[in-house]
Each structure stands twice: as structure tokens, then as C-alpha cells.
Amino acid sequence: MSGVDAMNTIDQEELRDAARRLLTDKVDRRAPWGEGEADGRALVRDMVELGWHLLTAPEELGGLGQSFTALAPIYEEMGRALAPATLADTMAALDVISLDDSVAGAALRDRLIEGSAHIVVAECGSLGPRIDTTFPLLEGGLAATHLLLLPTAAEESCGIVDLGREGVTATPVETWDRSRSFAELALHDAPCERLQVTGGVAIPLVRAHKDLAMAWDSLGAARRSLDETVTYMGTRQQFGRPIGSFQALKHRAADHKVTLELARALAVHASQAYALRDGAWSDLAAQARLLATDAFHAITEDSVQMHGGIGFTWEFDCHLFLKRALMSDILNGAPELVRDRISSSVIARALRRE
């Protein structure tokens, strides 16, 4: 089942094909599990070269003026490829600075559109003109040129730190999930420029954008994991027949498929809602993220079991997916916290019988 996308001029399936071609070409998902490590800087350059960062930038600024739904197939393909880079922070930041009229915002927007800025986003407490703090684990922290800081105090305006300037050290951090690249970002008296847009405006946008990006990433990876598992079960023979003919395994695979399609349906719907900032877009994005990471987690967890001994090996790829899933589960807040974040408004909507 695929979604209908009437909002954009660029065909979603063309975008998907282009993304798949690039990622097939450039991402060797085994690389970080041998001698190398996930770095992602090269892939970020490739993505910029293809102009993905322009997709949702306003046309009058040289962008392509598409809505969020143009990014969905790209995020999904990145998950499918286990891409070591992230695009979501940059694109979420663009959603925020598109609303901003400050000098710093305009400058960053220009650089972003020109392709020379790559952004990581972090929520923080109060901001001063100089920042002294450490972010212990930021995805994409090595590739980033700027840090967008979102104060949780609703009235306070957001800040930008140029990571190329003094007082900034980014150190790679090794995690069990090697399919992504993480860094510790230490700021010592690093200068921070202020935007006009407030944390109260920016945080819901960034959270929703990143929730949806995570949903699509998880859906792409989960589907790949399920497909590969199903293929394996069709070839592995035991008791004189393919193990995929055993109903105990088939029915689990079918249940995973249902869970995946259910999550996908919500991701399509929530992406359209976010693109239009329509209805309960912010809850829906979080809900789509929950269903997708839950499905991803369940599928990859079972995938190891359905492979038997070979699934338990470093050599075989089951664990690549499982480890990405375990990280996706908690990367932007544990699922329990996401549930807690939205429960009041979900319950209020239920009582309004929407």
C-alpha cells in the first residue's frame, strides 16, 4: 500500500529511485563492522551534491519548494540502506529557520541552501552569548558544521553555534550500533548567535520532523530486515523442506508484516498532516514514530531467532538491523517518554471524540 502525494511536483517514486541508486552505490553496510567505522561525512557530501537538502527549501531562496512528504522516501531509503549519515537534523533545522527573520538565521539559511552547512539539533536549558556544555552523544556530530540549540523555555529564542569556531571539540563515540555515526560535542565558552524564533515554536517542529524521519528510517530498515529474513527462510532447508514452510515461522512473519503496514499507514498520514501543519500533526508524528520503532524492534529481534545459529554470528547481517533498531528505540527519547509527552493531548482528543 503506498501513499498518495498530491502536494508535490516531484514524483515520490522518482525520488525513491534516485535515493536508492545513490545509497546502493555509496553505502557498504558491512564497512563499520570490519576495520572501518561509520563516519558519514562522505555520504553527507554526496547527498548535498544530489541536492536533497534543497527539496523542502523555499523556491524564492533557490530551493525546490516541496513539502515534507518529498523527504519521506529518502528517509525510508536511508533506513533501508542502514545509511551512516543523518539528514533529518539539517532538514528539521530548515523548517525552523524558514520562519526566522534574524541576520544569523538568514546567513545560516543561505549557507544551508548553498550546501555548505550541515546541522545538528539539540534541546537545552537557558542560553547565553557563550556556551559551556557537553553533549555526550550526538548523531551526526562529526559531519555537522553548526549546532542549533532549542531552549525548552518557550519564550526564549533559539541559538546557533558555528562548530568551526573556537571552543568546540567533536570526538567520535563508539556505540553498539555502528550503523550510525556519533560524536561527543564539547563546547567551552563557544560563541552563540541568537535567532528570533523561540524554543516554543521550534521544539514542536523539530520533534515532529525528527519523529517522522525516525519513523521512515525504521520502516525502511524494518522492511529490509523482514524481506531478508523471509528470503533466508525460503532457502534454508530442515526436515526435508524450507523452514519458511513451517507455519510457526510463517505466522510470525505475517504478524510482522501487519505491524509494519499499520505503522506505515500512520507514517503516510502523519507526514501529510505535518506537511500541512494540519490537525493533530504533532501527536500524529510521535504516534507514527512509536508504531514504527516498535515494529522495527520486534521484527529485528525476531529475525535473529528465525535465522538460528547463523543469526547469532557477527558475520551475518541480522544484528546490524537489531542494533540499529535498539538505538532507534531510544535515540530521540525512550518510547515511554514519548508516550508520556503526548498522553494528555491524546486523551483529550479521545474525550472530544475526534
Binding site: H251, K257, H269
Partner: protein, 396 residues
Amino acid sequence: MREDRKVTDLRVELRAWLAENVPKDWRTQQAGDNIEGFLASQREWLSRLVKGGYATPHWAPEWPGGGRSLAEQVAIFEEIARADAPRMSLFFVSLYHAAMTLMECGTPEQRARHLPAILKGEIWCQGFSEPNAGSDLASLRTRAERKGDRYIVSGQKIWSTLGQFADQCLLLVRTDNSGPKQVGITFLLMDMKSKGVQARPIKQITGDEEFAEIFLDEVEIPVENRVGEENEGWKVAQVTLSSERGLTLVELTERLALSLWRLVEAATANGHEIDRLDVEVRRRVVDIASRIEALRAMIATLMANRMAGREAVGDASIIKLAYARLSRDFTALGLRLRGMAAQRDTRYVLGAGYETGNWMFDFMNSYQYNIAGGSNEIQRNIVSERVLMMPREKLA
């Protein structure tokens, strides 16, 4: 997705009609009502819908109320659900299964005889399942012998919804044993008042007597009541089984979504304040709410694909499984939240579907969607073999 003007207009008109016509107090009135009361209110509701022109949107255009697009049919089901109108349980098989079978496969005489009668409230049941033919329906054994211009039918049908109230029955019988089991099945229309027919209600786990077993002892059925050719009834049965085209799920999903508040009500019934609710309870409500929202999106996509003629194999099975599991988890949570009060609350509303608000009844009833119309296990076979293309198992 933006909606067709025609559909939007229909919604406006229908909302006004529903505001006038939905019996205001049907839930209170039917709570604890006896079966006669239920039958009477269903008849009254059908006649209003027929008069309003909303009972038969799926019928061919030459019939009253017919000729509506699938998009309009979906809108009608959604609006009826949103208005919290009664379901049309008593007449669903008549309006959908019987009428569509006759429209697609029946003779002009059969249509002329039954379709006007259905509009006036003729009740039909579906006599497919047998004690030894459930999931493996094609192994059915009720025998029909041709004698001149009649079939003589003997055997037993079971689980026939509302069979004890039915005037007519869509009957599958075996007319030939020599070939593969799907060949040799014949589709007949049977008058339930025929000599030799005995329908005996079966009490369900809910306490309701909603389905029946039907005993057939040398029942004579005129050959003119056959639908399709002799021994080719299996094809006709597929038409019957797909006649509602997903509309039931449209309605049920919408009703489920609009009864989410009942979960919150169940959680707060013991005097808990909403914002003091146990955090685990709140999380589980969020999970159910998310799955409902996803199911709504999924059914909307399925119907859109259906309208565009690009439905994929197995889509319907995926949705049915998603709905079936959700209906069980939803009601299980409500039951858990309501606690001992649910154990003591033994009154329920006939004909309200599973979202009666009586959690034990609703939970018990949710098995229906997990068993009937192709059980979850059968749907999983379809999804694994026909969607995921896993190796098929050879079945007898």
C-alpha cells in the same frame, strides 16, 4: 486528500438527515431490551434508512437509493458511525450478501422476487459453514439431489448469523463428489419456511443468541432458485463473501475510533482524575489510540486503492488482521481498567456492535472478528504465502 464535491455534499445532507432520524435514546432503550424489542427497532431503523435513500447506496442505479460511488458508500458508513446510529445488524446479510449475489449472479426473476422484498425487510442468512466445514469451507457435505425441477437437500449448517429470524437463506450444497472439492458445489436460495428446515439458536459466549444451526431434512428447493450453474456455486460464493467490499471495516474502524473515550471513561470510572491516572494506563491508551489512528489511515488507503482499481493481493487480509487484533486489545484493556465493575455489569445493548461500553460483552464479542470471515490463522496463511511469498503448504 481532498474530497469530491459530490461526496462532501452528500455528507452535509446526510448529517442533517441523521440529526433528524437517529432514534435519540436507542442505547438506553435497548439496554436490557428483549429480542422482540431489538427486532422491532431494527425494522424501524431499516425502513427509515430505505426511505431516506441511504440503505442501498451499493445497489445498481435502477434500484431506489442505488448507484452511488464507492467513495459515497464509504462516506455514508462513516457518517452513520459518527452519528452513533444503531448498526444494521439484522439486515446486513440481506442488503449486502444476498442483494449483491443476486445482482451479480442472479436471474432477472430472482432479482424481481427478492430485491423489493429486501427493501421491505426480508431477512436473509448465510448457510455456508457446517460442523465439519469451517475454515475448509469447500469440504462441505450437505447433499442436494436433483429430482425433476427440484433439488432435495439434506444436511446441517451451523453458525448462521440470525438464522433463526431469517426468511431466506443463501445455501451452499454439494451436488457432485467426483472431482476436486471446489467443483461440485451449488449455490441455492432457500425459503426458511420450507418443509424440513429447522433453525435452532445457539447461545454465544456473550449470552446472546445471535447465530443458529440449521437442520435440513429432505428439503425441496425449486431448480429456479439456483444461482449460477450446477456445480459452479463456489464462484458465486466468492461473490457473496466479497460483497461488502471492506465497508464493514470502514464502519467498525470508525466506531472503534469514536469510542476511544470509553477507555478513558473506564479508567476514570472509579473516581480517578484524568491527569492523575496511572502512567502505565496512560501509555497503553496512547498505544491503542495510535493503532486506531493507523488503522483509519490504512482503511482509507485501501478504499482509495480499491476505487482506483489498484488493490494488491492480500491487502484485505492485512487489514482484517490489524483490525481483529486491535479489537481484542482495545476491549481487553477496557475490561482490565473497569475491573470488578465490569464483572458485575451484566446488562448490555443489543445490536450496538462491540462498542456497547459493556466491557465483558465487548471483549467476548471481539473474538467474532478474529474467527469469522476467515480466522486470523487463515489470514496469516494468506499474508505469508501470497504477500510475503513464503513456501506454500500443501493442504488437502
